[in-house]
Symmetry: C2
Subunit: 339 residues, 2 copies
């Protein structure tokens, strides 16, 4: 584990084994719901869908939906938790085509197995599947929350594309991108859990805020690990963001805070990174030395703390429910995870 994040703790942490057990207890029904709802008249679609969905994802989003709904008063159905995994899988499929990814979760990306064409269409199928499930709930805010979310997600992914290769990208625009491409889906999973529970609007908003902060922390850690993790730990190649021209917080911080005479060299290496692995490795090393990774973990810890803070207004004098306790514990977990 890199030292950057080891010393920090947040209140409300559970023993890692206990947290894992609680999360697994909800990931299982979510998995079962995915099994049950993943039906198509075209067997090939099931095959491609299963390839991406049953390849060891953490089920973070469905678990958050189930936790949030239970913490808000009434646990939602596992089949609606599946919405968030379908949506996540759909964006992964389209992302992999766009990034020309070779690996995903430690094995060949679906597109290398089934081709870009099938992967684009199966992505569309999974999008459709998630809206289909969301339309089952009578509360109109449920499906509307989902469509608001996917609209922003698509915008975020286009923004990310536009900023690709823009080595002058600043932190404000970086935040805009990760909020839209990652945080809003995690926020929607929590928000929609509260909607499904029939919670009042203030509670729904608090869960949205929790998820949004958690999502920011989650993506920042992803971006930091890209500069430090190993491919083996992480299940996909690391150090690839720069090689793909993706500018993330570790780089932005390093660019702004490295010794001024090193800055031109860093930019030069970053520009060369897409075609020159040696330059990419050197840039990565410079980013680490300039504190880019440490800084990113610090920002991630702030968002994790803000996630916990968002839930505070919902807690009375009595001890929190088990689900609330788990949600609080997920915040530091998201920063401490190494994969």
């Amino acid at each position: 584990m890199p030292s950057d994040s080891a010393p920090k703790t947040l209140p409300g942490a559970l023993e890692p084994a206990e947290l894992r057990a609680r999360v697994l207890a909800l990931a299982e029904p979510a998995d079962q719901a995915l099994e049950d709802t993943l039906k198509s008249h075209v067997p090939y679609i099931e095959q491609v869908s299963r390839y991406i969905i049953f390849s060891g994802g953490k089920r973070l989003r469905p678990v958050l939906y189930l936790l949030a709904s239970a913490a808000a008063g009434r646990q939602g159905q596992a089949r609606h938790a599946a919405i968030f995994e379908y949506l996540h899988a759909a964006t992964l499929l389209h992302d992999d085509v766009i990034d020309e990814a070779g690996l995903r979760r430690g094995r060949p990306a679906a597109r290398t197995e089934y081709g870009n064409d099938a992967v684009i269409l199966v992505g569309d199928f999974l999008f459709s599947k998630s809206y289909s499930l969301a339309a089952e709930l009578p509360d109109h805010r449920f499906v509307t929350a989902l469509t608001d979310c996917t609209t922003i997600m698509a915008e975020g992914q286009v923004l990310e594309l536009l900023f690709t290769g823009d080595f002058e990208l600043d932190e404000a625009n970086y935040r805009k991108v990760i909020e839209a491409k990652t945080a809003v889906l995690i926020a929607a999973a929590c928000q929609m859990g509260a909607i499904a529970a029939g919670a009042p609007q203030a509670t729904i908003d608090a869960f949205y805020a929790y998820g949004a902060e958690l999502g920011m922390a989650f993506q920042m850690v992803d971006d930091a690990l890209d500069y430090v993790g190993t491919e083996h730990e992480f299940g996909k190649p690391v150090g690839h963001d720069l090689a793909e021209g993706k500018i993330t917080l570790p780089f932005i911080h390093a660019r702004e805070h490295c010794p001024p005479d090193e800055r031109p060299r860093l930019l030069e290496l970053a520009e060369a990174a897409p075609t020159n692995p040696e330059a990419a490795a050197q840039a990565k090393e410079m980013v680490r030395r300039a504190g880019g990774v440490t800084h990113t973990f610090e920002r991630a810890w702030e968002h994790a703390a803000a996630a916990q803070e968002a839930l505070r207004p919902l807690m009375g004098p009595e001890p929190p429910s088990a689900e609330m306790e788990t949600l609080l514990a997920v915040a530091p977990y998201v920063v401490q995870r190494r994969s």
Copy 2:
């Protein structure tokens, strides 16, 4: 105009100028609604979306939504008519990536202007936009009809992909593909019009059946024109289906009905078509000679007649409303159109 379709008429035809005027009167508010609702926080998304949406589409689907809702008792809002144009545009964008299309509606396809990556994501944005608008209606059947439709559409497009290059594709599977990839969206536009009008279930089902038959006719004519039209008339290259390994009804009929000793030659030419334009032209000529185009127009006329038939139970002894009259007249128009 090829002789294949000229002699046929169906009851209830309007003068072409009158039909055009009625359709334009509804296409205009649909266009305005597209202008009004096509907003994004990312200007680039608006730019790509406008490129595909305001490139001279016929607005067939929004117009059918408005006609069906009015014929069913209460005309729907133009902003909800926009749903079907967004959805159609999203599938065109993804299709063009898959087909590696160079032209669309007589000008460079969006993907050649903006790149595959942006086009995939803007397609996702437009899908999301259409669900977003559909979620505005309180009747839950509205958004459910849309998600049912898009799930089948994605399945149809995957089926089409799987059958690409399958020169033994039979008519039953061809029908399955065009029903799923084309007819269900046109059916949904009509069905959802009736839902928005608050019509009884039998009326909703009748409009669905009308749209489904119309959609079959529409796609068959598209497939026939690919063997006879000119690029100039049609706005996209013709004779391309075979060059892309897409097996459609004209070819299937020719394969089954050409003189038995010509069959091996036809298959040989079809196999060579993707890389050999001369072979493609010869295959096209053989298909025409074997009656493939005539047969396809005949089938299309049958579906157009069935579309009219589907509306008959809704008509009482009094003369049909102007909208019902227009819907009846759209059926032969769909077969007689040359672009």
